[in-house]
């Protein structure tokens, strides 16, 4: 499938595209290495995070109770949507003051990061190469670190509210007595169940987003490879498949951002409920 003798094989192409630009300068060898940091993920997530808060802040800065402009109305629709969801799930108005803005940030931020998937897969890496940056992945949410980092943040928020609402004693009591009941024999079972629940929630929360975006990115790369064959079939296939997948992906990036936001609210809402 290689287009020319100097071009990489399709396997090399994919691997190259899936390699992060990290602090070591080459691909990470071990599965877990806390001394490494992915520069590309950090760059794009911070850039888009700043874009998120800047866009929201632009709307907030000029927000009036009078007739809103189109931009303000659009942001207000978002705020209203998140606010309604938060009201339905979290019944404490005090907690909503923090959790609702957090959910809004998460939604817009993840939406922006996911939307990077819609850029042609080779554009930013090629530009990077011109400046001597050989590895680059532009979809921050397709990095497990980013997705798990955010779901870990949600876990911390959950723990914070568990302790805040129920008190340390209340929460520890709940850890050992729910869901099966208060009996010394059931304490370890309950505790193990609770731990599994927390881990499962957090991992599935992050993995869901990561998996969707990673798979989406991979499909875009495969479609790009199809176009890379430089044949009529490849070109037509690339155009058709690329269009279909990109249009479908508009749904996915929005849906994943929405799901992540909703689960954030649901988990924090659960932290408010005493068993």
């Amino acid at each position: 499938m290689a287009a020319g003798s100097a071009a990489p094989t399709s396997g090399e192409y994919i691997v190259h595209h899936l390699t992060h630009l990290n602090s070591t300068g080459h691909a990470q060898k071990s599965v877990i290495d806390w001394s490494v940091i992915n520069i590309d993920t950090m760059f794009y997530s911070i850039l888009l995070g700043l874009a998120t808060v800047f866009v929201l802040w632009l709307a907030a800065r000029k927000s009036t109770s009078g007739v809103p402009g189109r931009f303000q109305a659009a942001v207000e629709i978002l705020v209203e949507m998140v606010s309604e969801q938060a009201k339905g799930i979290i019944h404490s108005a005090e907690s909503r003051k923090f959790v609702a803005p957090l959910a809004l940030t998460v939604f817009v931020w993840i939406f922006f990061m996911n939307a990077m998937d819609l850029l042609p897969v080779d554009v930013l890496p090629k530009i990077g190469e011109m400046f001597g940056i050989h590895y680059q992945r532009v979809v921050a949410t397709a990095d497990l670190n980013a997705a798990l980092g955010m779901s870990l943040g949600v876990l911390l928020v959950c723990i914070y509210y568990n302790i805040k609402i129920k008190g340390i004693g209340g929460w520890v009591h709940e850890l050992f007595t729910a869901p099966f009941g208060s009996h010394p024999l059931l304490y370890p079972v309950n505790f193990i169940m609770q731990m599994i629940e927390f881990v499962a929630k957090t991992v599935s929360h992050g993995m869901r987003l990561f998996g969707n975006m990673y798979a989406g990115e991979l499909v875009f790369m495969l479609i790009a490879l199809l176009g890379g064959t430089a044949t009529v079939f490849g070109f037509v296939g690339h155009v058709i498949a690329g269009s279909i997948w990109a249009i479908f992906h508009i749904l996915i990036i929005t849906l994943q951002a929405f799901i992540f936001m909703m689960l954030t609210l649901v988990y924090v809402g659960q932290a408010h409920e005493a068993h």
Partner: protein
């Protein structure tokens, strides 16, 4: 899909962004939304009040119209009554005047008749006297019988 320190960096960024939104984005927008909702509610209430006022005003104007009509009808009725009264009065006056004139005329006629009788009586007396004179010239002295003649004149 390797795990590394990016995870924790992302965690920190996550909270910083959330904090920023909580501090600078969420409150003004929610405040604007709440204020607008209140404005709209106030506007709707004002519209409702306006509608009620209008209804009240309509009722009052209908009432006023009805009252005016009643008053006008009363005035017309009064005027008609007064008119009839005036006609009656005028009629009565005219009748009285006519009676007066007729009475005057009658009195005058009577006077006239009395005067005519008086004249007639004088003439008849003169005629009788003349006749009697002519008759009696041969037989009696007129002076001698003037008393009798005067008495007769009175009785006529």
């Amino acid at each position: 899909m390797n795990l590394n320190a990016t995870l924790f960096a992302q965690l920190v960024v996550f909270f910083i962004l959330a904090w920023f939104t909580m501090q600078f984005v969420w409150p003004p927008i929610v405040k604007a939304l709440d204020e607008r909702a209140k404005k709209i509610a106030d506007g709707l209430a004002a519209a409702e009040r306006g509608k009620q006022d209008l209804e009240l005003a309509t009722k009052r104007s209908t009432e006023a119209l009805r009252e005016g009509k009643e008053k006008a009808a009363e005035l017309i009725a009064n005027a008609e009554k007064r008119g009839a009264q005036l006609i009656e009065e005028a009629k009565a006056n005219a009748k009285a005047e006519a009676d007066r004139i007729v009475a005057g005329a009658k009195a005058e006629i009577e006077q006239e008749a009395v005067r005519a009788k008086e004249q007639l009586r004088e003439q008849v007396a003169a005629l009788v006297v003349t006749g009697a004179e002519q008759i009696l010239r041969r037989e009696i002295n007129a002076q001698a019988h003037s008393d009798i003649l005067a008495t007769i004149k009175q009785d006529l």
